[in-house]
């Protein structure tokens, strides 16, 4: 092979070239596509909210908004953990069961003091998350199966504690725990403030810490991440642990809000959380996503539910039909945008 003799500086690439043997595509439309993929859900949320405000007098009232915010908070906390898991390319089906288990443990523990009531669900659900993580990372089992097993196991454990759901533990009025769930600050319920604080922390962790970089790297290309020295196994164990802890916390706060550990909650919540994360622009295949999108996704699901409730004539079962259809549209749009970004 002959190499061209030249003293001129060599420039490798202008950065506008796609991977592969092909000429240039415009970078601006790529940015636009990225923008739509990341913030499309937000635009839809704004539009749906505006339409609802003008259509229903009772939508934009303080009470309704505050209720929506509080009921969103629990799902949002679960979706926060799920975002981390999905960005690593995994999935956590156990969060619905952990949510119920967390609630029951908090209510049961409240008889032994606030500290026990708060710590018990976090420790137990976190431990189940650690087991999930170990099985996924060290034993290299599929996250789907591992967390499905945990989902069944955790629900079983919850039923055992409550004598097949016959015992319902109550949280005493006026306790710190009840105040945490039921009280409000500056017009918004305490669970909403806790959720917002967790999202801020989550965003900082994901974007501004090494752990966050590893989460993206593991999901983007696991083999490359390992060769680049990222602690792949540790990162996976941590995200499943985080997901477990957050699901337990969400359950505990929810129990505090309801003043009791309700055993029938959390069914299908894992799927709702996954929907919210995906609607928010996180790729199910991993490597791309952000926590703010997941929050928008949760709000969007809750607003749609609320709107359907406002239309009195519609059976509330239609909530799920609409949510399902919406999710399908989003996934199709995401896939299309994703392909477009790769082609450009």
């Amino acid at each position: 092979m002959t190499v061209t003799k030249t003293q001129a500086p060599v420039s490798v690439d202008d950065g506008r070239r796609p991977a592969g043997d092909g000429p240039v595509g415009p970078a601006r439309s790529e940015r636009l596509t990225a923008l739509v993929q990341q913030h499309g859900a937000l635009a839809v949320l704004v539009i749906v909210s505006l339409v609802a405000t003008f259509s229903f007098d009772s939508f934009a009232t303080g009470d309704n908004v505050s209720n929506m915010a509080t009921s969103s908070a629990f799902l949002a906390i679960v979706a926060l953990g799920m975002t981390f898991v999905i960005i690593t390319g995994g999935i956590d089906l156990s969060v619905g069961s952990l949510f119920a288990l967390g609630g029951v443990l908090a209510a049961w523990g409240s008889r032994h003091g606030t500290l026990v009531a708060l710590l018990l669900p976090l420790v137990v659900c976190g431990a189940i998350g650690v087991v999930n993580g170990l099985l996924v990372a060290r034993s290299r089992l599929a996250p789907f199966i591992v967390t499905l097993a945990a989902m069944l196991g955790a629900r079983g454990l919850m039923l055992a504690i409550t004598d097949e759901g016959a015992d319902t533990y109550l949280i005493g009025k006026g306790s710190f725990l009840a105040e945490l769930g039921q009280g409000s600050t500056l017009g918004l319920g305490n669970p909403v403030w806790i959720m917002l604080a967790l999202f801020v922390a989550g965003a900082v962790v994901l974007r501004r810490t090494r752990f966050g970089q590893h989460v993206y790297a593991v999901g983007g290309n696991e083999d490359a991440a390992a060769l680049m020295g990222a602690p792949v196994a540790r990162t996976k164990i941590l995200v499943y642990t985080l997901s477990g802890v957050l699901a337990g916390l969400a359950g505990a706060l929810n129990a505090a809000w309801l003043a009791s550990g309700v055993t029938i909650l959390g069914n299908g919540m894992e799927l709702e959380a996954i929907s919210a994360v995906v609607i928010g622009g996180t790729l199910l295949t991993g490597g791309l996503g952000h926590v703010s999108g997941s929050l928008v996704g949760v709000l969007l699901l809750k607003v749609i539910q609320n709107v359907i409730n406002q239309i009195g004539s519609l059976d509330s079962s239609y909530q799920q039909v609409v949510s399902g259809a919406f999710l399908a549209v989003v996934v199709v749009a995401q896939t299309w945008l994703g392909r477009r970004r790769q082609l450009l």
Partner: protein
């Protein structure tokens, strides 16, 4: 060169895998500032040796002494932290992460709160890459870059981590000549800074251009080591292959016979005015039966796209394709396959082989619909086809039931070739058929291309290896920025003429320089 102390001393390294002695009692010594060529055919033990040095595998026997201390790395991370960096053949970075974050993954600059300092990261990334002539927006995802630029990011990453030894495993397999020059200047700078480089490549010119010393491995043993200048090319090849010098000399470095297969008959493939927006402009190529037509040009000139457009994998906005005189509807791969066009894609990992399936299943994959009746496949007919091609293409597998993922790169490529030949094509499009496979297998694939053309197939050959393109092609169509800029026939098919055509129309030297600098 009289360096003070060796930076790496490997003594009696051995490693076995079930059924194979991959590395057998190998020694290797590296001094600071030494550029060491590590060569051998695939399966000779190069990869095993590199993986032992970088902590991917642990040796069965032998010592690795790094900077005076006996070491045993448990993970690539440990090796990297100690000062042994590796650049792999395929770019091993995170495509969706930004360029800067890829460059700094694991050693990101942090502010006083312990959080990542993105501004500083982006600034330093820009500077670091600028030193390698890569000027890109470092905030964009890595995959937006060309393969060559990605490889430079990998290089910058390896070098920036204060390495004492940089191992480069076929770093140039996806680089264009001018990028190779940049790589060489980086290697020379590393050498001047006293960093040892282990350079693995199948391209002999590159070895002689940058390497001081050489270790030749064959069948897991070290068969030669010393100064590279003391070993001429033919001796190097014969040492590596274990063949007699006379045989190598007689047969030449490539296996092409010189190519006189072109006949006067009508073209078997006639592509006219193929246009793909932003990609191809009015590209026309015609191939006669028995002819090998080369596609020349740099990365991004539209070679792969031309092959894809012809095979229906890339929809065209205008242009026509006829196969043996019959017009073909564009943009449909099944139609192209039915018409007799087969494409051997550039990236055999992602677009070709199914590693988990057997040799037999991989070969019969495309032809299955033709071998079946009422949806049921005739096993006997599959067996006969598979046996025919395993024999004809000299595929080395323990049995047709062996998984393709376990074969060497050269044999994987032959399995792919067999898959398409089983379809009885009239036109074969070969996109980088010998990339990343060892010298011996390369020669075999080249010989096969010759034989296939002699059998009357029309062949379109794309290769970044100029020697291969020149010696293998009867004619070379030269592309630049998605358009045909020239065609070389007969005696014009030379490296010099090709370089000039790629560089610009005018034959003077200025045009060459311009072309080398316009990014």
């Amino acid at each position: 060169m009289a360096p003070p102390a060796e930076v790496l001393a490997v003594r009696g390294l051995s490693k076995s895998f079930p059924g194979v002695r991959a590395l057998d009692d190998v020694d290797l010594t590296l001094h600071p500032g030494e550029v060491h060529a590590l060569i051998g055919e695939n399966g000779a033990g190069k990869s095993t040796l590199i993986k032992l040095l970088t902590g991917v595998y642990r040796p069965d026997a032998g010592d690795i002494v790094f900077q005076g201390d006996k070491v045993s790395f448990a993970t690539p991370l440990e090796a990297q932290k100690a000062g042994i960096s590796t650049i792999y053949q395929e770019v091993n970075l995170i495509p969706l992460l930004s360029v800067a974050r890829n460059l700094f993954l694991g050693r990101e600059p942090r502010n006083r709160f312990g959080l990542l300092d993105s501004a500083r990261m982006n600034r330093e990334a820009e500077q670091a890459l600028g030193a390698y002539g890569v000027r890109v927006d470092v905030r964009r995802p890595l995959r937006a870059l060309g393969v060559g630029a990605q490889q430079m990011v990998a290089l910058a990453r390896a070098v920036a981590s204060e390495a004492r030894i940089v191992i480069m495993d076929e770093p140039t397999s996806s680089l264009e000549p001018r990028e190779v020059e940049t790589l060489f200047s980086v290697i020379r700078r590393l050498r001047d800074e006293g960093i040892a480089v282990v350079y693995v490549s199948h391209r002999l010119d590159e070895l002689y251009a940058v390497c001081d010393t050489v270790t030749v491995l064959r069948d897991g043993r070290r068969v030669h080591h010393g100064r590279l200048a003391d070993l001429d090319r033919l001796s190097l090849v014969s040492t590596m292959l274990g063949r007699e010098l006379g045989e190598v000399r007689r047969e030449g470095l490539t296996k092409f016979t010189g190519g006189h297969h072109a006949t006067d008959s009508r073209p078997v493939l006639e592509a006219r005015g193929l246009t793909v927006p932003h990609t191809l402009h009015e590209v026309s190529v015609s191939i006669r039966p028995g002819e090998v037509v080369g596609l020349g040009g740099l990365l991004g000139s539209g070679r792969t796209e031309t092959a894809k457009a012809v095979s229906g994998a890339l929809p065209t906005s205008s242009g026509s394709i006829t196969v043996a005189g019959i017009p073909l509807r564009g943009g449909s791969t099944p139609a192209a396959i039915r018409a007799g066009i087969s494409l051997l894609p550039e990236d055999r990992k992602s677009e070709g082989i199914v590693p988990g399936l057997s040799v037999r299943e991989n070969i019969s994959l495309a032809v299955l619909p033709r071998l079946s009746r009422f949806g049921l496949v005739s096993e006997a007919r599959v067996d006969s086809i598979v046996d025919t091609f395993v024999e004809r293409l000299r595929i080395k597998a323990s049995s047709p039931r062996q998984k393709v993922g376990e074969l060497s790169g050269g044999n994987q490529q032959k399995v792919l070739l067999a898959r398409w030949l089983a379809m009885n094509p009239k036109v074969l499009l070969l996109d980088e058929p010998t990339r990343g496979i060892d010298v011996g297998a390369k020669a075999e694939v080249q010989k096969l291309v010759d034989e296939l053309a002699a059998d009357g197939l029309g062949v379109l050959l794309i290769s970044s290896d100029l020697e291969e393109l020149i010696e293998g092609s009867d004619r070379v169509v030269v592309l630049k920025d998605g358009a045909v800029v020239g065609e070389l026939t007969g005696d014009e098919v030379t490296e010099d003429k090709l370089m000039r055509t790629i560089a610009g129309h005018s034959p003077d030297g200025d045009a060459v320089e311009e072309a080398a600098t316009d990014g």
